[in-house]
């Protein structure tokens, strides 16, 4: 199991554990799967919901007595796992660091010589608090399992579908004022519709360019002023002006003005 965890954790090729139910009694396998956006790796650290879970796992793994935990050994194991987790998922590791500190403190307290004058009763095992927390945590994990199986059984039991009553039927539940407010909304929307005038696009840029091109080509020379005069609206005029600029830019036509303030004529540029 130990080896398994490590290999799974260091092999990014391992697929998502989609077959694993949300809750599992034995413990989900840790796995690394590509995230939704493809860039991220999603790291599942198995059943290690928190530091207490990891500790319980290690205690079981090492097959030691929970009431007599070899703190030094378990601490080393814990830190080894933490190192691995740190490499994978920093946010999870953050939660686990507090426990690491507590374990190290416990380890050092275990090394202190006992008070030789203290009686049996006075000597309290420094591990007691941790053991109690672990046992408490384990109890609630078992309680969670119990809730899970209850919910599973409950999902196999069905009650009848909702009966349509005035209270839950939205068609009936509408009052006069609801109707009025909806009507007002419709009126307001109608007003907006009248006010909004969408300008129809009379001629597109491409069409205007084509028109200019044809006129220049057929006449050989075109008075730009004439061309502009054809525009029926302000918008069309703008489009006409832009199309002249565009054809000049593309060097399809050239503009010439023979005298200051004189007429500007466009001539087709013969490709070299």
């Amino acid at each position: 199991m130990d080896d398994n965890r490590q290999t799974t954790a260091s092999e990014p090729a391992d697929g998502a554990n989609d077959a694993t139910p949300t809750i599992s009694v034995v413990g989900a396998q840790p796995s690394i799967a590509p995230g939704d956006d493809g860039d991220q790796l999603q790291v599942t650290l198995g059943e290690f919901e928190g530091p207490l879970d990891l500790l319980l796992y290690l205690i079981r793994q090492e097959q030691v007595n929970i009431y007599d935990i070899p703190i030094a050994r378990i601490t080393d194991e814990y830190l080894r796992y933490l190192q691995l987790m740190k490499e994978l998922d920093l946010t999870v590791a953050g939660d686990f660091l507090v426990m690491a500190a507590q374990l190290i403190e416990l380890k050092s307290r275990m090394l202190l010589p006992r008070d030789p004058l203290a009686t049996e009763e006075e000597i309290e095992d420094p591990r007691n608090e941790l053991v109690n927390r672990l046992l408490e945590h384990e109890k609630f994990k078992a309680a969670a399992q119990m809730l899970w199986s209850r919910a599973t059984v409950e999902q196999a039991v069905f009650t009848r579908a909702e009966i349509e009553t005035d209270k839950n039927n939205p068609e009936v539940a509408v009052g006069l004022f609801d109707l009025l407010s909806v009507f007002q909304e419709i009126l307001a929307r109608h007003k907006e519709e009248v006010m909004m005038e969408i300008e129809r696009e009379e001629i597109t840029m491409a069409e205007m360019i084509e028109r200019l091109r044809n006129m220049v080509r057929s006449a050989g020379e075109l008075n730009v002023l004439r061309f502009f005069e054809q525009a029926k609206s302000r918008r069309e005029l703008v489009v006409a002006f832009l199309s002249v600029l565009e054809l000049v830019r593309l060097s399809e036509i050239s503009l010439r003005q023979r005298e200051t303030f004189g007429e500007i004529t466009a001539t087709a540029v013969t490709p070299a």
């Binding site: 139910p21 949300t22 809750i23 059943e47 919901e49 928190g50 530091p51 207490l52 879970d53 319980l56 205690i59 079981r60 097959q63 030691v64 007595n65 929970i66 009431y67 939660d95 426990m99 927390r133 672990l134 046992l135 408490e136 945590h137 384990e138 109890k139 609630f140 994990k141 078992a142 309680a143 969670a144 119990m146 809730l147 899970w148 209850r150 919910a151 599973t152 059984v153 409950e154 999902q155 196999a156 039991v157 069905f158 009650t159 009848r160 909702e162 009966i163």
Partner: protein, 209 residues
Amino acid sequence: MSNKAKAAASVDDEVELVDSSDSEILGEREIGDAELQSIIEALIFVADEPINPKTIADVVKVDREAVDKAIAALVNDYDGGNGGLQLREIAGGWQIATRAEFHEHVRAYLKSKPSAKLSLASLETLAVIAYRQPVTVPEILEIRGVQSPSAIKTLLDKRLIVAKGRKETVGRPMMYGTSKEFLIQFGLKDLSELPSIEDFQDLAGGLEP
């Protein structure tokens, strides 16, 4: 229509009127045991949520004792029969539901799949809240060893837990407890039906090699 017939008709009407008003007066007292059972069954059937005996007593206008007796008899009927339904006590009320053993067929008809279950984190948090309520977030953290903000949010969203005021301590943290919805979803009569948390001690003690 002849006068005679008219007279006969009006007499009939009168007789009927007298009859019906008579039976109405007597009606409240005269619901027989069997009829009361049937009425109660009908009410439990239409109720959207488990319906409690007091509500039934108020609606039918009989005393609570009679309701309890009738329900007991009904439960007997349901348990003895080979029907596909069961009458069960949930969240302090009564509910008619299908028997679990037919879930496959019911599901096939409803085209429903078992809905998404709660995550392990949410279930653990829920367990702590169920057994230690009213309980604050720091107290949950102490037992679980990890923060559970998203679990608490999930449970609140699913209306399985409710806020139960603030604890008069430093920071006045919010206290949480389980809701009626919790009892319904987990098929519990009341909280006392949960197995004692100390019963899980054996499991925890099982850590000893």
